[in-house]
């Protein structure tokens, strides 16, 4: 356990400069993008004269110079006060915390779904290398990956929600919420089936291909030949000597994919009308709600950091060689 704690401490320390750089980047990008919250507000409300716009800018503190606004931005971040969201008419932290669980739930389920199914299919493809099953799995995953997820999402809605009516059209929960807690959980799960499947399938191809190539490699390894020479049962060789070492690149990819998945959730949440961080980000960007955008991006960064921390811990448990090196490098 000592090693794991060392790992966590080091990763959290590394997160500080990452968050700093990301927040400066966010400010810079929004500054470069041009147009501010007042422009967006007037565009939505049907316009107003320049004097009104000027008054709004003064009121929202947007008339100050670049440095003044940047310092104000940094100050609010350091004090963990993310400011007021004009779009949502509530504090940014409240707006984000309302939406975070939905996205975290959806993303977690999608990661688990795509990694588990992708690993399983990739493993099967590796064992059946060169057969029709292998070709079917590899090509099928690639096709799903190549199709835009909003399109798969819309098709899924048409087929499974409209025509077959197996699943709801969108949203995260029914309006008439069930009374029992278990009922509410099942209700949310029922709402999440389509979006999680769509998001997961789109990202599955990567795991299929990674697992397939890694397992073809381990299948040809000397230790698998040695395990066969020791007369171990086939299933045991496949699980412990082929699949387990092959999981290492898959776990690494999980961390790298977390950020992409957050980006993908913007599209999927919009299509399925799920009140999550993705759709909140969409609203915030289209209405130039700077504090809200900054807050969402920072929370997204934090989520990616946390996922990568979990990935590192898992990796260290799967591969004993890495733990030693990392902990040593960490000065423990």
């Amino acid at each position: 356990m000592g090693r794991t704690w060392t790992l966590i401490r080091r990763r959290l320390l590394q997160a500080i400069p990452v968050i700093l750089i990301v927040s400066i980047g966010i400010f810079g990008l929004l500054e470069l993008a041009g147009g501010d919250a007042v422009d967006a507000y007037l565009a939505v409300t049907g316009g107003g004269d320049p004097a009104f716009a000027e008054r709004l800018r003064q009121q929202w503190g947007l008339d100050a110079g670049l440095w003044v606004r940047f310092l104000a931005y940094v100050e609010s971040l350091v004090t963990l006060d993310f400011g007021w969201s004009v779009v949502m008419s509530k504090p940014v932290s409240v707006a984000i915390l309302e939406r975070l669980p939905n996205t975290a739930l959806m993303m977690g389920a999608a990661i688990a779904f795509s990694a588990c199914l992708g690993t399983l299919l990739g493993g099967i493809a590796a064992l059946r290398k060169g057969t029709a099953a292998d070709a079917g799995i590899t090509v099928g995953a690639l096709v799903l990956n190549a199709m835009p997820s909003f399109w798969i999402g819309l098709i899924a809605i048409v087929v499974f929600a409209v025509k077959l009516a197996w699943f709801p059209l969108g949203g995260i929960a029914s309006f008439d919420r069930p009374d029992l807690a278990i009922g509410r959980v099942l209700d949310v799960a029922w709402h999440l089936v389509l979006p999680v499947t769509v998001l997961g399938l789109a990202y599955m191809a990567l795991y299929v291909r990674l697992m397939r190539s890694a397992m073809i490699e381990t299948a040809a390894s000397d230790w698998v030949r040695a395990a066969r020479a020791r007369g171990l049962p086939r299933l045991r060789i496949v699980r412990r000597h082929m699949a387990r070492p092959a999981l290492l690149p898959v776990v690494t990819m999980l961390g790298l994919q977390a950020g992409n998945l957050l980006g993908g959730s913007v599209v999927v949440e919009t299509v399925f009308a799920i009140p999550g961080l993705g759709s909140l980000a969409y609203d915030a960007v289209s209405q130039r709600d700077l504090p809200l955008i900054a807050g969402i991006l920072l929370v997204g960064t934090l989520m990616v950091i946390v996922v990568n921390l979990l990935v590192d811990i898992t990796y260290a448990r799967l591969d004993p060689r890495v733990t030693d090196d990392r902990v040593r490098a960490g000065g423990a």
Partner: protein, 324 residues
């Protein structure tokens, strides 16, 4: 106990019309408990293919004929399920690269435990006790702690000892060792050879040692079979094979392996080199004739029969003659 008769192995060609490659061309081997038989020859002589055939590890594309009897039961043409009861349980195997034969993400104890549990139906705790005992029997100090180590935490020599323990774990009657010391330092090499010879006596197993190194074979084997182009060309006791080889190929091997002996006066003799390449197996002449300093017309016209020579036999028309 292990009885190989007229074993031939042919690897399939790339298409059905191609004849494929004959790797082993009808060999006989006999091996008893507490005995060491060394099979020596250069790369491509068919020694490793022979070993894989005995272990049932040849790829499906390889076709085998002849017979392999282990305690009077045929083990050559078994289905995959029957094979796995022979592998490990009756035949243990040791490979060249000690690091490669161990899974890097499992502790060495786990990898021996699973062999013990698969073949001997022990519970977890009893299996670990057996693993620790095995590690101690292959000369590993502090075996209980070492069992919890991962392969990368052990030296090459220790890893080979672990691989030997894993090969012994199911109490097999035969151990096949494929160049078990080639990847190790010279001093470690000697320790591992000592260990193997010792285990053959203590555990009462038969050892088939495959190597290209005559010095290694001569140091540990009771009998040596020299393989060339898929055939056994000489079969002798180690002392006689070194001092009085019958086959010109054995002589050449001896000169390559023991240059100091060949030079005689303490100076380095240049390593002798065999001209040309190894002929393909299965021809109608002596396969060694193209490279042989003693070859006569007869050698190029017919396959020399095996004739008694010294304390064994040799397949050569001019057995025992020298070039001078």
């Amino acid at each position: 106990m292990l009885k190989v008769r007229d074993l031939a192995i042919r690897f399939a060609g790339r298409s059905a019309s191609e004849a494929g490659t004959l790797a082993v061309d009808g060999i006989d081997l006999d091996l008893d408990r507490a005995q060491v038989l060394a099979l020596i020859g250069e790369s491509g002589s068919g020694k490793s293919a022979t070993m894989l055939a005995l272990a049932g590890l040849l790829p499906k594309s390889a076709k085998t004929t002849g017979s392999v009897l282990l305690d009077d039961r045929s083990i050559l043409h078994l289905d995959e399920r029957e094979k796995s009861t022979v592998r490990g349980r009756r035949i243990g195997m040791i490979f060249q690269d000690p690091g490669g034969s161990l899974n890097p993400v499992l502790t060495v104890g786990d990898q021996i435990d699973e062999v013990v549990r698969t073949h001997r139906r022990l519970d977890r705790r009893a299996a670990r006790a057996e693993t620790v005992s095995l590690l101690s029997r292959v000369g590993i100090g502090d075996p209980a702690a070492r069992a919890r180590a991962y392969p990368h935490q052990l030296s090459g020599g220790l890893k080979q000892r672990v691989a030997i323990a894993a090969a012994l774990a199911a109490q097999p009657t035969v151990i096949l060792a494929d160049e078990p010391t080639t990847a190790l330092d010279a001093t470690v090499q000697a320790q591992i050879l000592d260990l193997l010879v010792n285990l053959v006596q203590v555990e009462h197993v038969a050892l088939l040692l495959v190597t290209h190194d005559l010095a290694v074979a001569a140091a540990v084997a009771d009998r040596i079979a020299v393989m060339y182009a898929g055939k056994i060309v000489e079969r002798r006791g180690p002392e006689q094979l070194v001092t009085d080889p019958g086959h010109p190929y054995s002589r050449a091997l001896g000169q390559a392996a023991l240059p100091f002996v060949a030079a005689g006066d303490g100076r380095h003799a240049a390593l002798p080199e065999l001209p040309g390449r190894m002929a393909e197996a299965g021809g109608t002449a002596c396969a060694f004739a193209p490279r042989c300093p003693l070859a006569i017309d007869r050698c190029r016209a017919q396959v020399p029969p095996v004739v008694p020579f010294g304390d064994g036999e040799a397949a050569c028309f001019r057995a025992g003659e020298t070039a001078q």
